[in-house]
């Protein structure tokens, strides 16, 4: 009985205590369920995002660059399908064997194989290893023939920049290549869109317009596992192609320029004298930008770099030259504007002027006799301009020169390598050289020698602004949809509604401009004119211009007496040949400047080029007008 009691008591205690435990369990259970609720219901969104972040990874692909087209819509920088060879190491059974097979098939050098092996070690085994960035079509075919035995090898079609006109546009467009650290640090957009394999502009418009051209990345979204391996593709988001850029340049003219300057060092610029649109801008020699796309080889690079004609320099914008006699229209204009001379003012040219025991020679040893402004321009008489410059003074000359664009960057917004050159005056010399101005320097400044340094594009702008009647224009290399037509601009000028501050007049008296233009006309179209041989009689093509011969080296007395032919002088000592012109004479549309380095004289080397250029320019004038607004849509 006692035992029974005790066991009942025991059982009671156990049951009671079990009940207490049960209550504790209930508390624990509710805590657990509460926690589960918080995680799965309350914070579900947060954790879902985290889980997606875990499993979804984005791969950026190189963006597609926008096309650059010429005025007529021809693609001058486009995109080309290229064939590449990728290998995915994890799919390859025997990597070294595969490499040796590829080496045989593609004829790869041992050095290249070593490079590939090194690259492989840096990649994850499922990331594609680029064996060749640019397979030729025959190599591509060959690989495809052997593909069945090359497991893990993937021939890939992708897009690469392409310059169809090779060297024709190099100095305008520049080229693209793989970005270096500096490119990435300098440009936020490149930094943001950087992926291996991206190409960015290194020079020229490709660089300046990078942010418009670059486009946005294609994005591949993959589901990945915890080790980063791609499991499957979820989405392929096409990026936006870079914007299209339309140049004002005309490929046909550009081609002619290249042709004219073949094997020569020099530059040709052509400009629409009303709109400021640059029709051609070519610096010779040039080089093929396509060489840089996949990394230029050492040999090819050395060849370009060591070329004595300096293809890497954009002579149109960064070549600094003494303008020589091409400055004379400005000197004459300045003298007229300042009422120093009138058109009838005459100077007797004896072949030289003596000043303070220094002799200043005219190019014609025997002298020109009595010359007025027109005759002096026509025959490019130096003595006349010595005298006019002396009377005018360099400070007043500089004011005119500045107005017409000398010594200032023309396209500085677009080309970071453009140079401004300089047009000196007395202050300039004092500030820069710390010496006082000497009168003799005024004289040689008057014939475009001395301290004056101009770029070919500046001379072209100067000529254009004389040709259009003395109105300021803003040179353009990109088309502008709001650009007025020539007729509209003339209308604006006629009504003297000076539009947007662009077409302000640069003259005091329009008659002065007319006199200069006439003088330039006679220089080309009248007997004894320096470029008479290059004239075109047909009024449709008739142009007016001014030759220039810029001395590179001071001519010694002995050399002057020898009177050597150009071909007898060492190349680097020969004079630069220059020519500026506008046409057609009656109703001008275009102005140009030509410089041939060490080309001898302007009249023999540079002026004949203008003949061909004006023919082409004027023949294409109507076509250009019709294509003002590009109707065709180009990709």
């Amino acid at each position: 009985m006692i035992r029974g009691n005790s066991s009942i008591r025991k059982s009671d205690i156990m049951n009671r205590r079990m009940f207490i435990v049960g209550a504790a369990k209930l508390i624990v259970l509710s805590i657990l369920i509460g926690r589960l609720f918080t995680l799965q219901i309350n914070d579900n969104k947060k954790y879902l995002t985290l889980s997606d972040k875990n499993r979804i990874r984005e791969w950026k692909l190189p963006p597609t660059r926008g096309n650059i087209i010429d005025y007529f819509g021809n693609i001058v920088a486009g995109n080309l399908k290229v064939y590449q060879l990728h290998v995915i190491p994890e799919q390859v059974e025997n990597f070294n064997y595969l490499l040796s097979r590829l080496q045989v098939i593609l004829n790869l050098s041992n050095k290249r194989i070593e490079k590939i092996k090194k690259k492989k070690d840096q990649l994850k085994p499922w990331e594609s290893l680029i064996i060749s960035e640019n397979l030729s079509w025959s190599e591509f075919l060959k690989i495809n023939n052997y593909l069945y035995e090359l497991v893990g090898v993937k021939p890939i079609m992708t897009i690469s920049r392409n310059y169809p006109f090779d060297e024709i546009y190099t100095h305008v467009l520049g080229y693209v290549s793989q970005p270096n650290e500096e490119d990435i640090l300098e440009n936020e957009i490149i930094k943001e869109r950087f992926v291996p394999g991206i190409k960015v502009g290194k020079l020229g418009l490709e660089k300046t317009l990078e942010n418009d051209l670059i486009g946005t990345n294609d994005i591949q979204r993959y589901e990945v596992n915890a080790y980063g391996k791609r499991i499957n593709q979820l989405e392929y988001q096409k990026g936006r192609k870079g914007s299209k850029v339309r140049l004002t340049l005309d490929t046909e003219v550009q081609k002619l320029c290249a042709n004219l300057l073949k094997d020569k060092a020099g530059s040709i610029s052509v400009m629409d004298i009303y709109s400021g649109e640059i029709i051609a801008m070519y610096s010779s020699p040039s080089y093929d930008p396509n060489l840089f796309l996949f990394g230029i080889s050492q040999d090819e690079w050395q060849l370009i770099r060591n070329n004595p004609l300096k293809p890497l320099i954009n002579k149109t914008l960064s070549g600094l030259y003494s303008p020589g006699s091409t400055i004379k229209p400005i000197v004459a204009l300045s003298a007229l504007e300042n009422n120093i001379v009138d058109p009838d003012f005459k100077v007797k040219c004896t072949g030289k002027i003596e000043l303070y025991e220094q002799t200043f020679h005219c190019w014609k040893e025997k002298g020109h006799g009595y010359v007025n402004l027109k005759e002096a321009m026509k025959q490019s008489c130096d003595c006349y301009f010595y005298e006019v410059a002396r009377k005018l003074g360099v400070d007043r000359l500089k004011i005119t020169a500045d107005k017409y664009g000398l010594g200032k960057k023309v396209l500085g917004d677009y080309f970071e390598n453009e140079k401004s050159g300089q047009f000196p005056n007395t202050n300039w010399k004092l500030n820069n050289l710390g010496k006082g101005w000497v009168l003799g320097e005024t004289l040689i400044t008057g014939i475009g020698q001395g301290y004056t340094q101009t770029t070919p594009i500046q001379l072209c702008l100067m000529t254009a602004q004389i040709a259009n009647g003395g109105y300021k224009i803003k040179p353009k290399i990109l088309t502008d949809d709001n650009q007025l037509t020539t007729e509209q601009i003339k209308e604006v000028i006629k009504k003297n509604k000076l539009n947007r501050g662009i077409y302000t007049s640069l003259f005091k008296d329009p008659r002065n401009i007319k006199i200069i233009k006439q003088a330039m006309f006679s220089s080309t179209n009248e007997i004894m004119g320096t470029s008479y041989k290059s004239r075109i009689d047909d009024p449709k093509y008739q142009f007016a211009g001014k030759t220039g011969t810029a001395q590179v080296k001071r001519i010694s007395k002995r050399e002057r007496e020898l009177d050597l032919k150009t071909s007898q002088i060492p190349y680097n000592d020969r004079d630069h040949a220059l020519y500026v012109a506008f046409g057609p004479y009656k109703n001008p549309d275009y102005a140009l400047s030509i410089i041939v380095e060490h080309g001898g004289s302007g009249s023999t080397t540079a002026a004949p080029m203008a003949t061909k250029l004006f023919k082409l320019l004027i023949d294409r004038h109507q076509l250009r007008k019709e294509n003002k607004n590009l109707k065709k849509t180009y990709i």
Binding site: S6, S7, R9, K10, S11, I13, M14, N15, R17, M18, V21, G22, K25, V28, L29, I31, L32, I33, R35, L36, F37, L39, Q40, I41, D43, N44, K46, Y47, L48, L50, S51, N54, R55, E223, V224, N225, A226, Y227, I231
Partner: protein
């Protein structure tokens, strides 16, 4: 009294089958089926090693459970101390000759199964203490000697398991043992005082912890301090569970698990996978099944006339509850990571063996609930 004994001895096999607790049995079966599906999911939606192995274990151990159910619980009462001693010897054996896996020496190689004696100790300690308190007169429960003996019974395996080292299992063993002490009637104030002194000595205990154990506690307190290292498991586990939402991502669609973001997904973190795929709803259903099992076991304990089965059932129910809550607290980020499997669902033979033995004994207690054990 005689009548009772006669009545019990007359229980036929048919009656035994009738007396089986079918609700418990069905719940266990349901859990087994769920575990197979979950294992199938950990294999990435294929029948691979884990699924096959788990299936075989379930089949074998489930059958074993039924055999145990039909064995009179008296036999367990008689052999309880022996069982405890054998497991204790195995623990000692393991500490000398055991297989070492990832720095912890817990396994003995039985060729067909790698046995973890510490898991079996979870059952053995309940059996042993249940017998001890069954035989202890109620007046002697709070004797110094009897408390000391029962504490020694608990402490010896604890030390052996801690030295493996396996803190999680040793804590579970201790808690299982203490639950019997509690049920046996040891004064509440003793528990209260010892809990207090435990709290006071906590800093000293922590100073004795191994560096990796300290790291786990630090990680628990702030998982983000090393998200790719020590905190990785708990962060990924929370992401998996949280992203499951109400309905879950769907069977075989748990991205966290099948993309390998979850470590140890088939063992201690099995609930994470389940919860990611079946969501809050599935988790609550799973918990309900566990709750039904626990309640059935408690009910069998209440109905048992003898102290031994009663103590065992209560103790085992408590132990299962502790396993589940420790495991869930761990994967939910409520407790530091201690190795503790989720009964039946987690992959692992020893744990399942122990659990199935426990269920077998409980079923046997049900069949023999009217029996009085001397």
């Amino acid at each position: 009294m005689f009548q009772h004994r006669r009545l019990n001895s007359e229980v036929t096999f048919l009656q035994k089958i009738r007396n089986l607790d079918y609700i418990l049995l069905i719940s266990i079966l349901l859990l087994s089926v769920i575990s197979l599906f979950v294992m199938y999911s950990t294999d990435g939606g294929q029948i691979l090693y884990h699924t096959k192995s788990h299936f075989i274990k379930i089949a074998v151990f489930f059958f074993m459970m039924l055999v145990i159910a039909f064995i009179n619980i008296k036999l367990w009462h008689i052999s309880a101390y022996l069982f405890y001693l054998i497991i204790l010897l195995l623990l000692i054996w393991v500490s000398f000759f055991g297989i070492s896996v990832s720095g912890s020496q817990r396994w003995m190689d039985l060729y067909f199964i790698a046995l973890q004696p510490s898991e079996l100790m979870k059952i053995a300690i309940i059996l042993c203490l249940a017998k001890y308190y069954h035989r202890l007169k109620i007046e002697n429960v709070n004797n110094f000697t009897s408390i000391l003996i029962s504490l020694i019974i608990i402490i010896i395996p604890m030390i052996l398991v801690i030295s493996q080292p396996d803190l999680g299992t040793s804590i579970l063993i201790a808690l299982s043992g203490l639950s019997i002490l509690w049920l046996g009637g040891i004064k509440i104030k003793y528990f209260f005082y010892s809990f207090l002194s435990f709290l006071i000595s906590l800093p000293f205990i922590i100073s004795f912890l191994k560096p990796y154990q300290k790291l786990r506690i630090l990680t628990f307190l702030d998982p983000d301090r090393d998200p790719l290292g020590a905190g990785y498991q708990i962060i990924q586990s929370k992401i998996a569970i949280g992203s499951g939402g109400f309905y879950g991502k769907g069977f075989l669609k748990g991205t966290q698990s099948y993309l390998d973001f979850l470590p140890e997904k088939h063992t201690d973190f099995i609930f994470t996978l389940f919860s990611e795929e079946f969501g809050f709803l599935g988790s609550i259903l799973l918990l309900s099944i566990y709750l039904i099992i626990i309640l059935r076991i408690v009910k069998i304990g209440v109905m048992s006339r003898s102290s031994f089965p009663k103590l065992f059932c209560f103790g085992f129910a408590f132990a299962i509850f502790i396993y589940i809550s420790v495991n869930l607290s761990m994967v939910l980020g409520l407790l530091p990571i201690v190795g503790s499997p989720l009964p039946i669902l987690s992959y692992g033979g020893s744990s399942m063996l122990a659990t199935m033995i426990g269920f077998g004994i409980v079923l046997s207690a049900k069949i023999n609930q009217n029996q009085i054990i001397a």
